[in-house]
Symmetry: C2
Subunit: 250 residues, 2 copies
């Protein structure tokens, strides 16, 4: 992993009818988001699309043109509805064929006579791709250009992410501070806005835990500049203390 001063961006493309129907609740978006933040890659967009060639190809092309990296999840198993590898090859305009490296990996887990036509689908890899190893069930993902193609099963996806992460360029890690605020958002919103305007290089958000009338809010400050982050955070804490004191005297 090399750290650059430039911003490294990413998108996630979740592929799967089962997510759109609500049958399966996605567990990958939040995991990858946190993972990328921690290694200094800024996740800028997520899309979920159905298991349909035209949709997958269009999304891969839209996202790979726009962000440093694209991470796909889902659709690389042996069944007929797993079409991600073909679609990525099509999006990139490269050929796809059974890859002997992938065959060798599967043969570590099964006999050659069990490697039937459908299982061989898991060995179809676009030309020029690097494999992403899968220590759980052997069938690999792959990286081609800036597109990382990973499994949808969370445990396998996580192992693949660990394996591909060291090959990625990373930017300056964004630091963050969370401040619990025992006041309604509407009470501190004006003061917070004023601080946000003076710290344009610090992203400041306010997150209610249970509704705008709730008292369990968090202000989250994020910046690449640790010093500015600390200063802005101090100002938010001072604002909150001032407002709480003012309420106590009423």
């Amino acid at each position: 992993m090399t750290e650059h001063n430039t911003t490294i961006t990413a998108a996630i493309l979740v592929i799967g009818d089962e997510i759109l129907s609500g049958r399966t609740k996605d567990q990958n978006i939040g995991f990858i988001a946190e993972y990328l933040t921690n290694i200094g890659i800024e996740l800028r967009e997520v899309r979920v699309v159905p298991d349909e060639e035209a949709e997958i190809v269009a999304a891969v092309n839209a996202l790979r043109a726009r962000y440093t990296y694209v991470f796909t999840t889902g659709g690389i198993g042996p069944t007929h509805d797993d079409i991600t590898a073909e679609c990525v090859a099509k999006a990139l305009g490269v050929e796809i064929a059974v890859d002997e490296r992938a065959v060798d990996l599967l043969l570590t887990r099964m006999k050659r006579e069990d490697l039937n036509e459908m299982r061989l689908r898991m060995c179809r890899i676009p030309k020029g791709a690097d494999l992403i190893l899968n220590p759980i069930s052997a069938a690999p993902g792959f990286r081609i250009e800036n597109v990382m193609v990973m499994a949808g099963v969370p445990r396998i996806m996580q192992a693949m992410l660990d394996n591909v992460a060291p090959t990625l360029a990373t930017g300056v890690k964004i630091k963050s501070e969370s401040i619990d605020v025992e006041l309604p958002e509407g009470v501190y919103a004006a003061g917070l806005k004023e601080i946000a305007e003076r710290y344009a290089d610090v992203s400041i958000g306010s997150y209610p835990s249970f509704g705008t009338a709730g008292r369990s809010n968090q202000v989250v400050l994020r910046s690449k500049d640790e010093e500015r982050l600390a200063k802005a955070s101090d100002e938010v804490r001072a604002l909150v203390a001032r407002l709480i004191a003012a309420r106590a005297t009423h």
Copy 2:
């Protein structure tokens, strides 16, 4: 709710830096997906974008042109980082102003002197929109044309969805069957593909629970046609029984 024979489609647009940074794990996508499936609306796409005007406006316009309905979550609170209402107005090319109906709703929960400038932001509603009531914390969402703008806090979003759902057109509900299969996917993939080819009107997917080598798979069949669904499901069950019997004799 009126049921139509045509397909009613939808997209979800999740707005929020906190989801992209991984700080907050989204709970709304899966909930809305299941909800829409249950009322006969087909979720076709999901996007997550940051709290940035250009990104929100572009996503709203891309999605509302393509699907029957768009559901947004997040960004309608009182703080400076809540910019969804303004962005939706801009995307639709309509004016936005403080809406007296929204003011009246907030005044059921707070005194007029507490309705400060920032809280009034929650009353800014695009011209021509219908309000979506929020029984939890009063500040409403809204519907304008085919765009439903809802809160990001799950409990509030869910109440808003209940309130707006009766106003939506719905299509024929998709029925589904799930069949547990105690075989590796690679063993039944060829037979399943053959069934899928004969039942083009039934969507058939195979979902491993823990890896392609796992034995805890599910085949899910989905169709608007109950009779065809039942026939295809019977064929899958027969396939699985046949394969299990064949393995037992070896």
